[in-house]
């Protein structure tokens, strides 16, 4: 029985894979250092992240898998659901064990699960690209907060970079307490020491003079495009589940104007 601990990074997790192969000791548990509970039985191996070892695993996988499959593994890491480390390990082990590529072997549980986890992450990424609502601040920054189910901020940066190349913007993940900031040339990941708030709202005074006008016009538009004769609340909720409403200006109470 070997349980491994690592620092929570993707490189750290790949280093665990490397160590497990080197020691020929398959993990019975993989956990982040700060959450690991020492077991009574077996050995606990604290793995120190090594970029070099991680790279060897990743390059080794490249010979076995397509870019899409490697991407799916990274998405599974961002998925962050219980057991994701073991799932990634099982997948990599199967990939190395087989002569041919294991992609498409949906009859193997770990292949199907990685595909499904990656799909969930991808959908959350897509939702964030859709549901982010920027508010323009007095100093012309476009600011939005998110708290996605999965850690998709690293995945959505590119989308917004391409789209908003000519405006400064920032997106802050209030749950994981870090954000992305684009300054017209490049995007950097930033950590802010904000008080822990689920709805980190901006002060009215910090907003641009026109912000309220366009927010209200958008609400007017949203109300008008509805066709009451076709009301279908079930379908509506399937498309935008309630947990996403907090982002959406059109779902906020109307202020008198």
């Amino acid at each position: 029985m070997y349980s491994y601990t690592y620092d929570g990074s993707f490189e750290g997790l790949l280093t665990v894979v490397f160590e497990a192969y080197e020691r020929n000791a398959w993990p019975t548990g993989i956990a982040q250092e700060q959450f690991a509970q020492p077991g009574i039985f077996g050995e606990t191996i604290a793995v120190v992240t090594s970029e070099q070892k991680a790279n060897r695993v990743w390059h080794g996988l490249r010979k076995k898998l397509s870019v899409t499959a490697q991407q799916a593994l990274y998405h599974t890491y961002l998925w962050e659901q219980p057991g994701f480390e073991q799932l990634i390990f099982d997948y990599i082990r199967l990939a190395f064990a087989q002569e041919a590529s294991i992609e498409g072997n949906y009859a193997a549980p770990c292949v199907l699960q990685v595909q499904q986890a990656a799909r969930q992450v991808y959908r959350e990424k897509h939702r964030m690209e859709a549901f982010v609502r920027f508010r323009k601040t007095a100093d012309d920054l476009f600011y939005a907060t998110i708290s996605p189910d999965y850690n998709v901020l690293p995945l959505i940066v590119q989308h917004f970079e391409k789209r908003y190349a000519d405006q400064r913007w920032a997106i802050y993940d209030t749950r994981r307490r870090y954000g992305a900031y684009y300054d017209l040339t490049a995007t950097s990941l930033i950590e802010l020491e904000l008080p822990h708030q689920r709805h980190a709202t901006l002060h009215a005074a910090a907003l641009h003079g026109e912000e309220d006008k366009y927010r209200q016009l958008w609400q007017v538009y949203f109300d008008q495009v509805n066709i009451p004769e076709r009301r279908n609340p079930k379908l509506h909720l399937r498309h935008i589940p309630r947990r996403y409403w907090k982002y959406l200006s059109e779902k906020q109470p109307r202020t008198a104007h």
């Binding site: 498409g104 399937r238 498309h239 200006s249």
Partner: protein, 421 residues
């Protein structure tokens, strides 16, 4: 807040909402000029209305003043509604400011016809031109081509727009004459043909010269109103099929007629035919992605789709001799035709069976709807059924058996009938 612009938006968004097209996909416009927006790849639905439709574009009319008097249309000349008109600059400002806040993918601009077709079309083109040239806007632009507009204007529109559309609205010339006397089929089909020619030509030139200008890279679409005139589903689907083939349309949209009109030329209905519209969309999908032909779905003997089961299930029940399909060996095209198996599951099945013989557990995990599919498949020659059923029995089991969920829509519509009755 500026109440004038609010009033205009209220009137001109309301008047545009019966156009159901919402797609913002298929564009290839990349942000290469460090400008605003990017319309490559797939579109995004930024919100959904309470009736469950996607909100992807700022969909408005430039004006709802109109010289035409089409019976089905809310902005027809004889209808007593408030009228308004945006200026070109107002539309540009709204689009840019909505886009910057990530509310929308772009603009869908249509218009009532004021003065004449060319005068109106010229203004629509000017909005698009201004967005592209003065604001370096690379978001999605969908322009409606006004029936009767000149070829030159349509050609210019295609240089700035990602998609153009001409709405046919009524499925036969006869209905058009009755309900929209100022329009005729020739006037609608001519611009469609111009657009098609231009798209093809631009693509040919693109092959030779990389810098050749693109023309409406997301192609063209149209809309048919369902339930405003007497045509049956067979006539509607045949027309769509013909449009897909003859004019390379990307999409035909179907809009269940919402009773917006008390015009005496219109049928009296209490609720839009939502189920019928839904079945027609399903049939449209089967034609485009599942390899079905119109004749397999509806024909002269059975000119309408069945309202209570989807057209794929209906087809399977009429063609029992083809089933059961052995999933470990059958062709992909045949697997696609099994009720309860969609494109994604069919692809997974074909992929996974190269590694292992599949069983029903595998299928369940892949997302196959076995409660439907089980009547039509075998796995390693085994069936999930303990006895044989005839078509009627299967139909009843799927509709009313264990775990059957009568469609919420169906229930809603039946309730409406009851209230109306």
């Amino acid at each position: 807040m500026d109440s004038r612009i609010t009033d205009k938006l209220t009137i001109l968004a309301d008047a545009a909402k019966y156009d159901v097209s919402c797609s913002s996909s298929g564009g290839k416009r990349k942000n290469e000029n460090k400008g605003l927006g990017n319309a490559e790849g797939m579109g995004i639905c930024h919100s959904y209305t309470e009736d469950g439709r996607c909100v992807s574009l700022l969909k408005i009319l430039l004006t709802n003043y109109c010289i035409y008097d089409c019976a089905y249309c809310v902005t027809r000349r004889s209808n007593d509604v408030k009228r308004a008109a945006f200026t070109v600059q107002e539309v540009v400002d709204l689009t840019i400011n909505f886009y910057r806040r990530n509310y929308i993918e772009g603009l869908f601009l249509s218009s009532g016809i004021f003065k004449n077709s060319d005068y109106t079309m010229e203004r629509l083109v000017r909005v698009a031109k201004k967005l592209r040239q003065e604001h370096k806007f690379n978001g999605y632009i969908h322009l409606k081509t006004i029936p009767g507009a000149s070829e030159e204007l349509i050609k210019e529109a295609g240089l700035y727009a990602d998609r153009l559309s001409v709405n046919i609205e009524l499925p036969t010339e006869r209905s058009l004459q009755q309900l929209a006397p100022e329009k005729n089929y020739a006037e609608i089909l001519l611009p469609m043909d111009t657009i098609k020619q231009q798209v093809v030509q631009a693509m040919e030139e693109k092959k030779l010269f990389k810098s050749a200008p693109v023309f409406a890279p997301a192609g063209q679409s149209t809309q048919l109103i369902v339930g405003a005139s007497a045509e049956n589903d067979h006539q509607i689907l045949q027309l769509s099929n013909q449009l897909y083939q003859d004019y390379n349309l990307k999409r035909v949209y179907y809009s269940g007629y919402v009773p917006v009109s008390s015009d005496s030329r219109m049928p009296i209905i209490t609720a839009p035919p939502i189920i019928r519209e839904n079945r027609i969309y399903q049939a449209d999908w089967l034609m485009r992605f599942y390899g079905f032909s119109v004749q397999e779905l509806v024909d002269e003997q059975q000119p309408n789709l069945e309202p209570d089961i989807d057209p794929k299930l209906a087809w399977a029940l009429r063609n029992r001799f083809i089933f059961p399909v052995e999933l470990n060996t059958a062709d992909y095209e045949l697997i696609l035709r099994v009720p309860g198996i969609g494109v994604k599951s069919a692809q997974k099945i074909v992929s996974a069976r190269r590694f292992a013989q599949l069983n029903f557990d595998h299928l369940r995990q892949m997302g196959v709807v076995l409660k439907r599919a089980k009547y039509f498949i075998t796995c390693q020659t085994k069936s999930m059924l303990r006895q044989e059923f005839d078509s009627l029995q299967i139909r009843n089991k799927i509709l009313f058996g264990d775990g059957a969920k009568p469609s919420a829509l169906l229930r809603q519509q039946l309730d409406l009938f009851r209230q109306a009755g």
